[in-house]
Symmetry: C2
Subunit: 311 residues, 2 copies
Amino acid sequence: MTQNELKDCHKLIKSHVHRTPVLTSRLLNEISGATLFFKCENFQRMGAFKMRGATCAISRLSKNQKSKGVVTHSSGNFAQALSLAAKRLGVKAYIVMPSTAPQVKKDAVKGYGGIIIECPPTLEDREKTAIQVQEEKGATFLHPSNNLDVILGQGTAALELLEDHADLDYIITPVGGGGLIAGTALAAHFYSNHCKVIGGEPFEVDDAYRSLQSGKIESNTTTNTIADGLKTQLGDINFPIIQNYVSEIIRVEEDEIISSMRLIWERMKIIIEPSCAVPFAALLREKDKFKNKKVGIILSGGNVDLKNLPF
Amino acid sequence: MTQNELKDCHKLIKSHVHRTPVLTSRLLNEISGATLFFKCENFQRMGAFKMRGATCAISRLSKNQKSKGVVTHSSGNFAQALSLAAKRLGVKAYIVMPSTAPQVKKDAVKGYGGIIIECPPTLEDREKTAIQVQEEKGATFLHPSNNLDVILGQGTAALELLEDHADLDYIITPVGGGGLIAGTALAAHFYSNHCKVIGGEPFEVDDAYRSLQSGKIESNTTTNTIADGLKTQLGDINFPIIQNYVSEIIRVEEDEIISSMRLIWERMKIIIEPSCAVPFAALLREKDKFKNKKVGIILSGGNVDLKNLPF
């Protein structure tokens, strides 16, 4: 991979995604002791950074591949992102979803033009069904996080953040499947002098933390976290990037996630989803490390069920 | 009053208030059929436009007046705004509040450095207590909405909006005590070619609507609205300005306020208080009028109790 590849991806997706604003907050600076720059991907199209990776991955397919469509298995933000990105690019998106997925998630995918293909609610069935779609329709499988084009697309958020604020000491992102943090780490590696990339991860699903310790991809045995976007594990494409370019992973407790989410809602007046509060929680947990530093925080998404808030 | 007076006020307060961003939303444009420009005073210091008027009114006092402090009676956003503005300007702020006011509101005022003076919970007691403070301390009384300097300060939000988007056809604001809409109407009168100013008001507290009809200041007999910032009535200073420069007032039902608030939360991922949703509700209620027009909407504030949401 070369430095230019990330810039090329940015050019490719620019007209399809928002250049999201970078917000600051005097109050949260005071509380944290650091100078914070929040990259607001909660304001991104369909409400999350995943729109970047989905758009990038589809855009880089060949004409022939595009004509046959794309397929993924996800019931979260990537399903919506792939549906919307595909619609904008005139490509069919097949979304394999467990039949048990909440109706609101199915409706969101349909609303963005995705074609839902239901399957039984096991990982095995999901993968089997996705393979079937690839075989029957000739569609290209795009993994939500373990795909280099997706990773590069997600990295464009940090690229924009570093364009706006070149002198950041740190960027913190949440860690779920690893796509966002891997892309962010590449962006910081190529486009900053000294900016370190740190991951925030719930103790409840600390597979990435343990993977970095053991040197191999670990799984989660429990998934009991409010940060429902972070339950997935790393993959063989993003893990080496994370090993090479991520400084460390800070783990946080559930109550720290909730109080950080609330602080951002109340003080910044913006809506973020629980997963999105994890980096700020990580920063507050290790305040001393970040004292008087310039810290970029990727606010990853704002899709939250208003009827089911943790406060 | 001259055109320059508003600009002078803006210069005076500029370093003490945020120049709030103007957000747009493709989705809300689609839903409304208009092109919308949201002036985000929910991102203003202390979370509401009231910071502008409070700062302006204190700044324009004489040195002698400043040395003796200011006093107001309010338990809402103006109490917090006056406290914070006074603190920044090195002035004492006495806030007369009913003893029954929620602790969270008292704490907010104290947090911003305001000096709370409690009184029994009637309007008569409030006014009597405020007069006492004026006499004992020599403090200057500043009314939350019926004060020309406050009105000019509130008008600076629309001034900034028109600086950014000179060609608006309409600006819609909520109508409570009348300070914001009067200031907005002055800004549009002085600094736009043809921009009309419209008020949004709940049917439940439609005193301003009825005042424009009858030609005299009307009161509310009921105050049964979720838009708790809009229960107050117009005053003799802002009413003539509203009569001269406001085109009309559109009334909305409670369920329209709630669904508009929810739309803005879900689609724009920003937190607004119920009063703040009233202008957008007014626009949706009379869609035809605004079809294909450029409409500025003042999002007045974002101070909301997360434990007591209407959805």
